[in-house]
């Protein structure tokens, strides 16, 4: 196929997908499996159309691969360099992100439960925690690299600091989410502090805690990758990106970004699934049907 045919085919596919989506969206079935199918089919078609358009434009207009490689080339690169990508993934995600995420989230949670006992500390910690959550914390990456060395420990340290504050703020807010009526009820049962914490306030805080877990899953990956820009052994996703950008191997950069995107979406999805089973009682989890 010549380049022009590819371009035309891509545009035709895009128009067809757009048309199909318009018709699908107009269907509005009432209930049943059709709703799920349509809600899934429309975004998938849209994504496929974007990919086709990307492929068509890059090939059709002969865009230099240094600027934007076509998706087929990126996919080829992904399948060809699985061992490298896997080693990077292990270094950055399995070592740096996961350990930092676990430590950061549990520390934030513990401090929140401690702070919750005293209104004075709560009043002091909350505004500062909110402020720090808005700060560019990735900036501490060079300091952590100096303190903990080039290997994954420094990346985990950055992730700990980045995930700590959202967890702290959200958990403290969540522990206050239980209503007065319920608290009074616990009081009339003569429940102790621990009992009311475990049986009422922690379950009520779960939606907030999962919110923080979801925010943190993205933050953690960002923190680890950016920290690798400041110094790393010769393996890791951040290292791969900065090294291959320097050599103008843009397809390898896209391959790494694809892995990062996959890891990010999958961990987000996994947390959302757990949330569904833990906070099944929350109004936001109700299905749309009355």
């Amino acid at each position: 196929m010549t380049n022009t045919t590819i371009l035309i085919a891509a545009i035709v596919f895009w128009l067809a997908a757009w048309f199909a989506n318009t018709r699908l969206a107009a269907l509005r079935p009432e209930r049943g499996p059709m709703v799920t199918v349509i809600n899934l089919a429309i975004p998938v078609l849209f994504g496929a159309a974007i990919l086709a358009l990307w492929e068509g434009i890059t090939r059709g207009f002969g865009v230099p691969t240094v600027i934007l490689p076509p998706p087929s080339m990126i996919w080829e690169r992904i399948t060809n360099s699985v061992p490298t990508l896997w080693a990077d993934f292990q270094q950055t995600y399995l070592k740096g992100v996961v350990s930092g995420y676990l430590i950061g989230c549990s520390l934030g949670f513990l401090v929140a439960v401690l702070v919750d006992r005293s209104p004075f500390w709560k009043a002091g910690v909350m505004p500062i925690g909110n402020l720090v959550s808005a700060l560019p914390i990735v900036g501490i990456a060079p300091i952590m690299v100096m303190w903990f060395g080039f290997d994954w420990q420094s990346k985990a340290a950055v992730v700990v600091v980045m995930t700590f504050f959202p967890m702290l703020v959200n958990t403290v807010a969540g522990l206050n989410a239980a209503g007065h009526m319920e608290r009074d009820l616990m009081h009339t049962y003569a429940s102790t502090r621990t009992q009311s914490l475990l049986k009422l306030r922690l379950p009520a805080a779960m939606p907030f805690i999962f919110n923080a877990l979801k925010i943190n899953s993205t933050l953690a990956l960002i923190g680890a990758i950016v920290a690798e820009f400041f110094g790393t052994p010769i393996v890791g996703m951040g290292f791969r990106i900065s090294a291959e950008v320097g050599r103008l191997n843009v397809d390898m950069v896209w391959a790494t970004i694809f892995v990062a995107a996959l890891a990010g979406s999958l961990s987000y999805g996994a947390i959302a699934l757990i949330e569904r089973s833990v906070t099944f009682w929350h109004p936001s989890m109700r299905s749309e049907r009355p």
Binding site: I42, G124, I222, I241
Partner: protein
């Protein structure tokens, strides 16, 4: 008021500074001890204490060292000097603001499209949400280098990263906001036989303003992070990110910390400014607080 709100905050700040000093002493002490050992002397704690807070390249600089560095590089340097932190902060701030404005505009446009078109809603909303689970900052070096290779340098590539980071909170917040009018109000507009444009300008747009400002606060913080990270791969020319990178290359910890503090102050000011404008607008428009 002062007792119940300011006092706890001040206590926490004081506690943080105290812990900071303690760690500065603990972390910097080994260097002084080994220096004393090499000189063949034994060093007591009283002599050790001031020395740990006056090192050239401490592991952790004491707060007052950072404060002195910030004072020297802001107030005592002319603004045009390359050593002035105000100059570097301005470089970062300009990219942040440009990107933030583009991102906000894009977010609002997307939200308007999504609210009015079922096809757009169904096909784009899942992707917008997925796009945020992707560590987008990883794209930053590539965007910079690719634009450099085409000959576009300076402000725009950094601003584009900020744009990408800030459009999402605005788009999602605005979709919520534009849909926030109650059914009663929508029905009222309908009985007035208002067309779509009238409903939009007279009902949807005003009721989305509180949502807009809440999401703009998140957006501008994300923009600043984007601009700082966008400065890393250019080889540390100018900007707060460049100061961080240069500091990490040459082991200038005081410089890193002062750049960090300035970035934090900048973020605080920007978020505070937007919050203040939002609050003022809300009062003018008669919006009741505690929503959004």
């Amino acid at each position: 008021m002062i007792r119940s709100r300011i006092l706890p905050i001040l206590t926490v700040v004081a506690a943080i500074i105290a812990v900071w000093y303690a760690f500065a002493v603990i972390l910097n002490a080994p260097f002084e001890r080994s220096a004393a050992e090499r000189a063949g002397e034994t060093i007591g704690f009283v002599e050790l204490l001031p020395k740990t807070m006056a090192q050239q390249r401490p592991v952790l600089p004491a707060p007052h060292q950072v404060a002195v560095e910030i004072w020297e590089t802001t107030a005592e340097k002319s603004i045009t000097s390359k050593r002035s932190l105000i100059y570097h902060a301005w470089v970062t701030l300009s990219a942040t603001l440009l990107g933030f404005m583009m991102g906000t505009a894009l977010g609002i446009l997307l939200a308007v499209g999504i609210v009015h078109s079922r096809v757009l809603d169904k096909s784009m909303m899942p992707w917008i949400i997925t796009s945020q689970t992707i560590p987008i900052l990883a794209l930053a070096p590539m965007i910079i280098v690719v634009f450099n290779s085409v000959g576009v340098t300076g402000l725009l590539p950094k601003a584009l990263i900020s744009t990408y980071l800030s459009f999402f909170p605005v788009a999602v917040g605005m979709v919520k906001g534009l849909r926030s009018p109650e059914t009663m109000h929508m029905d009222l507009m309908h009985t007035y036989s208002a067309n779509r444009a009238q409903t939009f300008w007279k009902l949807r747009w005003p009721s989305s303003v509180p949502f807009l400002f809440t999401s703009m606060k998140i957006g501008i913080a994300a923009s600043l992070v984007g601009a700082i990270v966008g400065e890393l791969p250019t080889g540390a020319v100018a900007g707060l990110g460049a100061r961080l990178l240069a500091g990490s290359y040459y082991g200038q910890t005081v410089q890193i910390w002062s750049a960090l503090i300035v970035a934090a102050v900048l973020a605080g000011l920007l978020v505070g400014l937007i919050g203040w404008i939002g609050g003022w607008l809300n009062r003018r428009m008669g919006v009741r607080e505690a929503r959004a």
